[in-house]
């Protein structure tokens, strides 16, 4: 693994879009009988990761492949996740899908797997620099898309605020950076606050209430995930500013969809966890079959607002694939 340059999933040149897999590498060969794939997720307390797991499972079921999907007990249990990953390796899987808590915490497991000749795919979020295979979206792009919406819809600019996730977490940092850079470059906007709420709906609510009170003319919030965004929505509502203040989240969980439909949440950046899960499983199976794939397989994401929501159905994967491919 020494020959690999440290992976930056956002800028790695050796990449392919998910939609090009079939076209470039042909249809997936039927996996051998008894193929087993293990998944290690960040946590199951977040719908995003549960849905990703469902993606693994639906795709694996279709191919009659066994899956084990394990997760740490919470989003901060880094050593626990490592233990789980190592324990899985010792059980002899044909491929592993890791969604690490941090950039580094699963490295020993990755190395162990490499030593055992088991392919490992780093799926989304934190990026293991030595990962040979990565499937996921561009974290920074989440923030960029929301910033773009503000630029498009409020050409005259205005005050905006960011509700950040846990300090020091990769995804939180990237999403915030994407938003902040894009909107600052535009020059018309003023980021009046960018404060952490540790992925907590309650803290997000409190922070938003405080910010709104200090800046009654705020035109929008960007929250690093949907849970926090829904907390912000409540704060905006209780301040009676639904008409004036837009609220965006990230992840595209079902509650966020419902809130967008209801007109509470202005939008969310969906990175399609179910589809991402399917793609990741497909990549794993292709690797087991011995195919040489590019290092990064990029998965889609889209800004979901009331206007676009109907085009992204979340249940019919084939339809979704079609919509996204068409873009």
């Amino acid at each position: 693994a020494q020959d690999l340059t440290p992976l930056n999933s956002d800028s790695e040149p050796d990449r392919i879009d998910w939609s090009q897999l079939d076209a470039t590498f042909g249809d997936l060969a039927t996996p051998a009988q008894g193929t087993k794939v293990g998944g290690v997720s960040k946590t199951l307390t977040n719908e995003y990761w549960r849905t990703l797991g469902e993606g693994y499972k639906t795709f694996a079921d279709a191919q009659s492949v066994g899956v084990v999907y394990q997760a740490a007990s919470n989003e901060g249990d880094q050593l626990g996740q490592l233990s789980i990953a190592e324990t899985l390796i010792s059980q002899g899987f044909d491929a592993l899908l890791f969604s690490p808590q941090t950039d580094a915490n699963l490295i020993p497991a990755l190395e162990k797997a490499a030593a055992a000749g088991v392919p490992v795919v780093n799926v989304n979020d934190a990026v293991i620099p030595t990962a040979r295979h990565y499937v996921g979206n561009v974290q920074k792009d989440n923030g960029v898309r929301v910033a773009q919406w503000f630029i498009d819809n409020h050409p005259q600019g205005g005050k905006v605020a960011v509700i950040e996730g846990q300090a020091g977490v990769y995804a939180a940092g990237q999403r915030t950076a994407g938003f902040t850079q894009t909107i600052t470059e535009n020059g018309n906007f003023d980021i009046v606050a960018s404060v952490p709420a540790n992925w907590s709906r309650e803290l997000a609510f409190n922070a938003a209430a405080t910010i709104l009170q200090q800046h009654p003319d705020l035109i929008g919030f960007y929250a690093n995930n949907d849970g926090m965004a829904l907390g912000v929505v409540e704060a905006v509502k209780s301040a009676g500013k639904q008409q004036q203040t837009a609220v965006f989240g990230t992840d595209g969980i079902s509650d966020a969809y419902a809130a967008v439909r209801a007109g509470d949440l202005t939008g969310t950046v969906d990175s399609f966890p179910l589809l991402t899960g399917e793609v990741a499983m497909e990549v794993a199976l292709r690797l087991i079959a011995g195919q040489e794939l590019p290092r990064v397989v990029a998965t889609p994401q889209a800004l979901i607002t009331k206007d676009t929501i109907d085009s992204y159905t979340t249940t019919d994967m084939d339809a979704l694939r079609a919509v996204l491919t068409a873009q």
């Binding site: 307390t45 977040n46 300090a167 404060v195 952490p196 540790n198 910010i211 200090q214 849970g227 419902a258």
Partner: protein, 318 residues
């Protein structure tokens, strides 16, 4: 002067003790007021009170438990479990008062389990409630499958979001609860028992204090208050999440300690704890108003907790 004060015993003594905590709060308020004009406005003060009300609700229960010589690390998960059960009932159409009672009963039941393991099981409170921290969280997650419960009835949410005389509902509810807790602690036998059980369990037992019952009550009250806090919160947020209440225990313990409770038991004050909650709330609020960057917020929180304790110690003597 001081002498005269301390001569009017207990009552003034308690007041005097709480004065140290108050000084800490005032200093923080002065600093933030100097740094940002938005801090010291009626609106923002109400805001701080509102934001502190949930943690105050938890911290009141925690203070009683700490006074009894224990600790309750499981408040967050207990809150989550009560909230999700309560919310599920409401969504299923159970009348709001019944669902509220159900949620509180859940919290009290969890407290009872904690207390039973500690008293009859003879286990250490820290470890029992550490186990509870996993256990109740797991139950909440399993029950909900990990997804938040939405769609709470508006009449329920009105309680959390309404105001009375300009004060938010939660502030009034928690103020009432605090008053009751204060009365219990300072005016009823249970209060004496709590102090006795925490201050000198052997003496309490010898004197015929119902030690087991007293400890059980403390954990049950803590569980019940956790449930009430969770109800206030879901009323405000409109959703009951199984992951809610993360790290609430640390906030509550910090508030109790800042307010003068001794983690060795036997000492603590409801008024002090309330001030402690407001200190923590004001801190968070002020840092947000100042738009302090995440890392530095963490830094400031750590420093201010320690400095508040140092001020408190310096002013309250000894």
């Amino acid at each position: 002067m001081t002498k005269a004060l301390t001569n009017i015993p207990l009552f003034s003594r308690v007041r005097f003790r709480d004065a140290g905590t108050l000084v800490g709060l005032i200093l923080i308020a002065i600093v933030f007021s100097a740094l940002t004009p938005s801090f010291f406005t009626v609106q923002n003060i109400i805001n701080i009170l509102q934001q502190s009300s949930i943690s105050a609700c938890i911290a009141i229960g925690m203070t009683l438990v700490i006074i009894s010589g224990g600790i309750d690390l499981s408040v967050g998960p207990v809150a989550a479990l009560s909230a999700t059960l309560g919310a599920a009932m409401m969504v299923a159409g159970v009348p709001v008062p019944l669902a509220v009672l159900g949620a509180i009963a859940t919290g009290v039941a969890c407290g009872f389990v904690n207390g039973a393991l500690i008293t009859w099981g003879g286990l250490q409170p820290f470890i029992v409630t550490l186990g509870g921290l996993s256990l109740y969280r797991a139950l909440a997650l399993i029950y909900t499958g990990g997804t938040p419960i939405f769609g709470l009835p508006t009449e329920f949410r009105a309680l959390s979001n309404g105001t009375v005389l300009g004060l938010p509902g939660p502030v009034i509810v928690v103020a009432l609860l605090a008053l009751i807790a204060w009365i219990v602690l300072t005016k009823t036998p249970l209060g004496e028992y709590l102090m006795a059980v925490g201050g000198n369990p052997e003496a309490a037992r010898v004197a015929g204090v119902p030690v087991t019952l007293t400890k059980l009550s403390a954990y049950m009250i803590s569980g019940g208050l956790a449930a009430i806090a969770s109800l206030i919160l879901i009323g405000r947020l409109g959703a009951a999440e199984p992951t809610m209440g993360n790290l609430w225990e640390l906030d509550a313990i910090a508030a109790s300690a800042i307010g003068g409770a001794s983690l060795m038991g036997g000492r603590g004050s409801i008024v002090g704890t309330l001030i402690g909650c407001v200190i923590l709330g004001a801190l968070r609020n002020g840092l947000t108003l100042l738009n302090v960057q995440a890392f530095y917020q963490l830094l400031a929180t750590g420093i201010i907790i320690i400095v508040a304790m140092l001020i408190d110690r310096a002013t309250s003597g000894k």
